[in-house]
Every structure is written in structure tokens, then in C-alpha cells.
Amino acid sequence: MKPKHIILSAIAVVGTIFATSAFADTIAIITPSPDNPFFKAEADGAKARAEALGYDTIVLSHDDDANKQSELFDSVIASGVKAIILDNAGADASVAAIQKAKDAGIPSFLIDREITVTGVAVSQIVSNNYQGAQLGAEEFVSLLGEKGKYAELLGKESDTNAGIRSNGYHDVIDQYPDMELAVQQTANWSQTEAFTVMESMLQAHPDIVGVISGNDTMAMGAWAALEAAGRTDVVVVGFDGSNDVRDSIKSGGIKATVLQPAYAQAQIAVTQADKYLKTGSTGVDEKQLMDCVLVNYDNAGLLETFALTN
């Protein structure tokens, strides 16, 4: 071979080595707004696991807007990510975006919320919100001695989990004829909105003895309103397992919540993504249910950032 050719080949080989080692594969992590510590814990968990496995990450929020989610998908597809970890913005509305990524050769691994079709995402690691809601409702009913008037705070209507949790609550509570639903209203997952809603619920129904809430941020808002009204006798139960509610439980405020193991779930999704990218399979079924755990005074001390130690 002529010397010039040898030099050019050597440069080509060295160039290739640089290209493959300088830029790690990227995983995109897309969730609802991290203003809610639950979603922040998901994103943090996924990011930590991905980086531990040698990936770069892009962390984005769709703000529960399916259109924005679609745009984010377009942009990560264009930038050539290898996989997407997603807590989606709508069980039906998200299917098209996930399909588009699949068509572009990018697998999606869903956490927390499911979508209503299979065969599009590779994994759906879904919190068993229904089972969790049943646990919360059983505790609620038990604390109230199986009787009394209660109020329910509903989550954001566009979030499937709002309906799933409410259904789960009623699956249990409606089996008790002496439990009476006095009023049911949405506070859209918002702490400040729940404060106002709780205030007006109390004024209209001063004889309620319990409040069951679709999530922890609303439970915190409700509890603040109850405290302000001197009604700390009212039993409040939330859902998610946040540090705020944990602290309230420990100081005798809110009585219980239900933990969704958000951090662990996100990590498991990344582990499955990695296995899929390396071997072409996750080794498990697409739809995987992660059970929720009741948190009350007995185990609140073990709860930290959406994980129970031990």
C-alpha cells in the first residue's frame, strides 16, 4: 500500500474511535411538571440510574399537555436519543407520539400511568393506583368506624389516575352503607386550590368527619384549611407518599397516605431500557403492575422521597 493510503486509513480508524467514545448514548426522560415532588422524584431516579449505566440524559416536562408532549417527542426523535422514559400526558392521547418514536426506532418505557394499548411501548411499569386507592379507603373507613359523612377531593380530570383513584376509593367505601359522601369536587391536584375548595366544603357541610383526597398536595391544602377553621378532628387521607404528608402524619395531622414507589419505578424503567438496547428484549411482559403501600403513623418514619427504607 502507498504510504498516503496508510496514513489516511489510520486517521479514519482513529476518527471512528473518537466518535464512538466521545458521545455516550442519550436517554430522554419526559414527565409532568417537577413542581410536584412526585414527578421530580421520578425524573431524578431515572436520571441517576441512566447516568450510572453510562448514558447521557435529557430531562423534559410536558406539563400534562398532550400537544406539548408531542412536540417534545418530535424534538428528541430528531436529536437521536436511544430510548425514552415517559410518564405520559393522557392514556389515549399519548399513543400516537409513542408510535412515532417506535417507527423511528426509538423504544419507549412508560412509568406511573398506563396507556390503553399494548404493542406500542416496550414496557408499561404502572403504579397499581386502584389497589393503592383501596388501601387508602380501607384505612379511611376503619379510622371513621365505618360511618360518617365525608368529602372527596378529586384530581385533575384529564389525568386517568384521578378517575382510577376515585373508582378505587368508592369500590371500598360504597360497600359501607353508613358512610355518606356529602360532597365531591376537583382541586386539580393543586395545594392552593384544595385550600379554597376545602374552605367552602366546610362551610356548606360542617358535619363532615373525614376528607379523602386524590393526592397528597391536595391533602396538604385541605389540612391547612381544616387547621385554620379549628377542625383538626377531621380525618384526612391522601395519596402519593410525599415527604410533606409524611411529616404531617408524624405530627398527628393527616392520618395516612399511600406510597407509589416512584423513584424505584423510574429506576426499573431505565434498567429495562438498557437491557432492551443491549439484548433486544426486557425479559418481562410489557405491562407490569407495581403495588402501592399504605403509609400511616406506624411506618411514616421509614418514608423518604417516595421510597420506604427496609
Binding site: 392514556a91 389515549d92 399513543v95 408510535q99 398506563e114 390503553t116 394499548v117 399494548t118 404493542g119 406500542v120 411499569i125 404502572v126 397499581n128 393506583n129 386502584y130 389497589q131 383501596q134 380501607e138 365505618e146 386517568t160 382510577i164 373508582n167 378505587g168 369500590d171 371500598v172 360497600q175 359501607y176 352503607p177 424505584a264 419505578q265 426499573i268 411482559d285 410489557e286 405491562k287 407490569q288 403492575l289 407495581m290 403495588d291
Partner: protein, 217 residues
């Protein structure tokens, strides 16, 4: 002649239309690109049909044949719950899901909670006067051990966790529908049962959902 033909033709056309319509299958599209079976409104019917098909023919026999004698079960889970689960248990649907077991035995009723919608008997199985387990009598039943013990109910076959949960509830209702516990005076009576339970660890309280239950008078 023409009029008769026209009438026959009309009749013939109507006849064809009737035959064509009765051969039609009405498919309810729920709009998603995956499963085309009916949505939430069809859940109860589908679940009821599934239970009719599987409860007596598959679930009952599976629970009965795999039922472990209580002492054997207790020793096994105290030694190593995962090994016990692999030998004769079944995991529920999902990551880190708890083990479900089937057990059988005879014990003494030492206490009863019958003034609740979630009625239970506390049963002493080893003659030391302390309760070893609780048996659920309904009508309110906690947990989904019946669904999760079965080897043939798979979450992937269901539209979503709501439909899957409805199965769990319907199974519980079916199993406890025939349990009649009236009046009082059960303390000290012998109770014989076969039932399932869910355990996340070897120290979890044993809460049994029975499929057969007999209280000696």
C-alpha cells in the same frame, strides 16, 4: 303477472336484507388503535363471563389441589418465604409483587368481628389459644389473593388496571357470596377451610380469603 313478480321481488329483497343483517356482527370501536373490544361499559359483562368460565372449572380446582397444610406452610415461610413461594406460591402481577399461597386446615375460632362490613373470624390453628390467622367472611373482602394466586389471570390480557381490579372484586364477591354467618356463639367452635392469602413478608398478618368454609356446630 308483472304485479306478482314485483311483489315476489319485493319479498325477495326484504328476505335478503333480513338475512344480510342477521349475518352482520356489530363491532364496537372504542377509538384506540389497539384492542377493538368494547370499553369500560362492557367491563362487568366481560368479567362476569370470565368468572363463569373459570371460577368452578379452573380456579377452584387449582386452589384446592395446591393447598398446603397450615403447619407445612407456616414452617416453609418462616424458613425462606421466597423459596416457599417458588415451590407452591404465585406472585401477583408486577415488580416486587407479594407472594400468594393456598392453605387448608382446621382450627378453633377464638374471636369474631361480626359487627363490621368486613367480618372476620380469628382462628387458632395450633391449640395455644392464640389466633394464628384471620378468615374473611365478607361482604367486604380485602385484597386480591384469589385473582393473584391463579396462574391464568394475566394483567397483560386486560385493558387497564381498572378492568383487572374489577376481576379481583368479582372473584371476592363470588367466593364469599355463599358464606352465611348468622347470630353469635361461634367462639370455641371448630372451623375447617381452604383459602388463599397474600404475604409480602414472613411476618405479615395472615388474612385468608376462603373458598370453602365449614363451622362445626
Amino acid at each position: 303477472m308483472r304485479e306478482a313478480m314485483r311483489q315476489s321481488l319485493k319479498f325477495f329483497v326484504v328476505l335478503v336484507a333480513i338475512i344480510a343483517l342477521s349475518a352482520c356482527k356489530i363491532v364496537i370501536e372504542d377509538g384506540s388503535t389497539g384492542k377493538t373490544d368494547a370499553g369500560v361499559s362492557g367491563d362487568n359483562d366481560r368479567i362476569a363471563a370470565l368468572i363463569d368460565k373459570t371460577f368452578d372449572a379452573q380456579l377452584f380446582p387449582e386452589i384446592k389441589t395446591k393447598a398446603q397444610d397450615f403447619e407445612t406452610f407456616r414452617k416453609a415461610i418462616a424458613a425462606d418465604i421466597d423459596k416457599a413461594g417458588q415451590r407452591f406460591g404465585h406472585r401477583g402481577a408486577g415488580q416486587g409483587a407479594a407472594w400468594n399461597f393456598s392453605i387448608k386446615g382446621t382450627g378453633t375460632i377464638v374471636d369474631g368481628k361480626l359487627d363490621s362490613r368486613a367480618r372476620t373470624f380469628s382462628v387458632d390453628m395450633d391449640d395455644d389459644a392464640n389466633a394464628d390467622l384471620l378468615i374473611q367472611l365478607g361482604p367486604v373482602v380485602k385484597g386480591t389473593a384469589l385473582r393473584d394466586f391463579a396462574s391464568f389471570y394475566n394483567f397483560n390480557d386486560f385493558r387497564d388496571q381498572i378492568e383487572f381490579a374489577k376481576l379481583g372484586r368479582a372473584l371476592n364477591d363470588r367466593a364469599t357470596a355463599s358464606i352465611e354467618v348468622d347470630g353469635s356463639g361461634y367462639i370455641g367452635n371448630q372451623i375447617e377451610f381452604v383459602g388463599v392469602l397474600t404475604l409480602s413478608s414472613s411476618t405479615t398478618r395472615i388474612l385468608v380469603t376462603p373458598i370453602t368454609l365449614q363451622v362445626a356446630p
